[in-house]
């Protein structure tokens, strides 16, 4: 068990002493750009909620380094298993953010094609996606494919039985899965101290016999290295890794939440100072890698993304009642055919 927290870049942008070389600057620049987009997506989605275009949005503000790194270490053939909070990661994977957000607008349970993108539907029932991730990985191994699966969950989700069963299955089967716990310190209102009294969440890895690593979740460089290493091990048959990212949920759980009931502004302010974007920006500026032109390009790309999202969210999609019956079974049962016919008749009457 790794008991320290892996960090490459300090809060002021300087290199952490003794941490080794960070990833190549080009990679960090790409990561920075992706984080700018992720941040913009979080902001735009929040604005859409305030405007009533989106019902709800669980923001990953403050967690953008995790969102970006989780995806940047994957190959196209790999799979991502995200939660409701990981819209930015899914977008970073290349899924149209408009499609991602249609779930939260209320159009569809899942707005994108999971198979085309190798991104599972966003999981709401906590930790239930983790055994699926293990299944995808184990199936890949049985089929002789070197696919890796990145499985995301929160600190709260580690308390669920499914977390335990998934980690244990993965370890026993040496499945190619990386479990990334975004420890953002809260499960809605419940603080980490009420979730676990273990020395760390990464320490849980010991009980499964897999490597556990705690990493600064606001340090894109450290995340990239740690997750990259875990992915490499998984791909080579070395089995799963549990990675705990030490980060923070800067906004309320969702817009429907009232965080003032359970935490201080001071605490939030302290974490805002540890912002993953600011940190990497300071580093890249100090390195002389981040030019004004690049910054401008990032900003423009972010605005383009925001505009596309606004546009997509403002364009209503007609909801088709037949959809309710179309996919429950490959071939609708006689009962569903009858029920669909009944609804159609009703709607025709109303329409007439």
């Amino acid at each position: 068990m790794e008991t320290g927290t892996v960090r490459f870049i300090e809060r002021d942008g300087g290199l952490a002493p003794g941490a080794g070389a960070p990833p190549p600057t080009a990679e960090l620049l790409a990561g920075y750009r992706a984080m700018v987009l992720a941040r913009r997506l979080n902001e735009q989605a929040g604005a859409l909620v305030r405007q009533g275009r989106l019902a709800v949005y669980p923001s990953s503000r403050g967690q953008e380094a995790c969102q970006v790194a989780a995806v940047s270490v994957l190959e196209a053939r790999d799979w991502l298993f995200p939660t409701y909070r990981d819209a930015a990661a899914i977008a970073a994977r290349g899924v149209d953010p408009v499609e991602v957000l249609t779930m939260l607008r209320g159009d569809r349970h899942c707005g994108y094609d999971p198979v085309a993108h190798r991104v599972a539907p966003q999981a709401t029932p906590l930790a239930t996606q983790l055994p699926h991730a293990v299944g995808v990985g184990h199936a890949a191994r049985l089929k002789g494919e070197d696919t890796v699966v990145m499985a995301l969950c929160g600190d709260g989700a580690t308390s669920e039985g499914d977390f335990h069963e998934a980690c244990n299955f993965a370890a026993v089967f040496a499945a190619p899965v990386v479990f990334l716990v975004q420890n953002n310190k809260y499960a809605i209102s419940v603080p980490l101290a009420r979730q676990s009294v273990a020395p760390s969440l990464a320490a849980k890895a010991v009980g499964y016999g897999m490597p556990g690593v705690r990493v600064d979740g606001n340090d894109l460089a450290a995340l990239t290295v740690v997750l990259g290493e875990a992915v490499r091990r998984a791909r080579e048959g070395g089995g799963p890794t549990l990675v705990e990212a030490d980060t923070y949920r800067v906004e309320a759980h969702t817009n429907a939440d009232d965080a003032s009931r359970y935490r201080d502004d001071d605490e939030v302010a302290e974490w805002v100072r540890r912002d993953p974007l600011l940190r990497l920006r300071a580093h890249l500026l100090a390195e002389g890698a981040l030019t004004d032109a690049l910054e401008a390009e990032c900003a423009a790309a972010a605005e383009e993304l925001a505009a596309r999202v606004r546009d997509g969210m403002n364009r209503e999609r007609a909801a088709d009642p037949d959809e309710m019956f179309a996919h429950v079974y490959a071939t609708p049962t006689a009962q569903l055919v009858e029920q669909r016919a009944g609804l159609r008749a009703e709607l025709e009457l109303e329409g007439s």
Binding site: P125, R261, E350
Partner: protein
């Protein structure tokens, strides 16, 4: 707290928890976010502040653990009232509920009864994303050993929860979440209705609508609209699914000779199916037409934009009433 006051259903339930905690020091409340936050629906608002962390507390995020903890605490003399955050998030606790909560008294031949309450916000109509709108009552109602209660009014929410907490047996208490923020007059001084009794919400001569929980309001609206069209429909609110009040239900149906059951859950092997079956078994020769049911379709609860098509509404109920073979009458 006594005297009639304007209360939302969430407040009425909060009142019931407070009054129960005041009346009985063994009542403890716990679950996810029920402490300082007061629950995602604010049903437990202020309980930790007013009763202390010992009487109302947050647990780690694990529903099987929560229900299992409640079983143990009930074994050791307390009266736990636990909250499952949403209907579908009670499923991880299913084994504990079915294999232990429901069976403990029976397997110990009455030596260990579990006076605990599992509160579950349930059903739809709130535009929730998937897994937040399940009507899960059939799973519990089918399980012997559970008492399954669901209020349709804020007064009942108060009274039935008080009764549920006092019951020596475990109760699954299903709260229609679309009512949480509706305001009604609640008089907590009024006697608590006994669990197991249905109530005739509206007398009617022509046919009987049988409903529970969130569907009672739909049935009442349908009856009102039918009245303007000259048809006099009665409405029975089951209140308690288990035990079932055959007497009240059958008395109404025998009187009218026609009945429609209204419920949100998918119809197949549902509580609505049970009501059709038992009413038919008991009232066959009084029936002018087969008892009909108006339920959710046999599909997973749809995304928000489609829920209006899924939910049994007034029109669908009235259509079913129209089909009760009135020509023959």
């Amino acid at each position: 707290m006594t005297g009639a006051r304007k209360r939302t259903m969430a407040q009425a339930i909060n009142d019931a928890l407070r009054d129960a905690m005041d009346a009985d020091g063994t009542v403890v409340v716990f679950g996810e976010d029920v402490g300082p936050l007061g629950g995602v629906f604010r049903v437990t608002d202020g309980l930790t502040r007013d009763f202390g962390e010992q009487r109302c507390f947050d647990t780690p995020l694990a529903e099987s653990g929560i229900v299992g903890l409640a079983v143990g605490m009930a074994i050791n003399g307390l009266r736990p009232v636990v909250e499952m955050q949403f209907d579908a998030f009670a499923y991880p606790a299913f084994e504990q509920v079915v294999s232990h909560v429901a069976k403990f008294a029976n397997r110990t031949r009455g030596r260990v009864r579990l006076p605990l309450v599992i509160r579950i916000p349930y059903a739809g109509g709130i535009g929730g994303v998937e897994h937040h709108c399940d009507s899960s009552e059939a799973y519990y109602a089918h399980t012997p050993g559970l008492t399954v209660v669901t209020p349709a009014t804020n007064a009942d929410a108060y009274g039935l929860l008080r009764a549920a907490i006092e019951l020596p047996d475990p109760v699954v208490f299903l709260e229609p979440k679309k009512h949480y923020f509706h305001t009604e007059e609640v008089d907590s001084a009024v006697a608590v209705p006994p669990i197991g009794r249905a109530v005739v919400r509206r007398a009617g001569r022509d046919a009987t609508l049988i409903a529970y929980g969130p569907s009672v309001a739909v049935a009442l609206s349908a009856a009102e609209q039918a009245a303007t069209e000259g048809r006099d429909l009665g409405v029975v609110d089951l209140r308690s699914i288990v035990p079932f009040d055959d007497e009240t239900v059958c008395a109404e149906v025998r009187r009218t000779g026609r009945a429609v059951v209204v419920a949100e859950a998918p119809g197949f092997a549902s509580v609505a199916a049970e009501v059709v079956a038992r009413v038919t078994e008991r009232c066959f020769h009084h029936l002018e037409a087969p008892v009909r049911r108006v339920t959710g379709f046999d599909v997973p609860y749809p995304p928000p934009k489609l829920e209006k098509h899924y939910l049994p509404g007034v029109d669908r109920v009235l259509d079913a009433v129209d089909e009760l073979q009135w020509d023959a009458a």
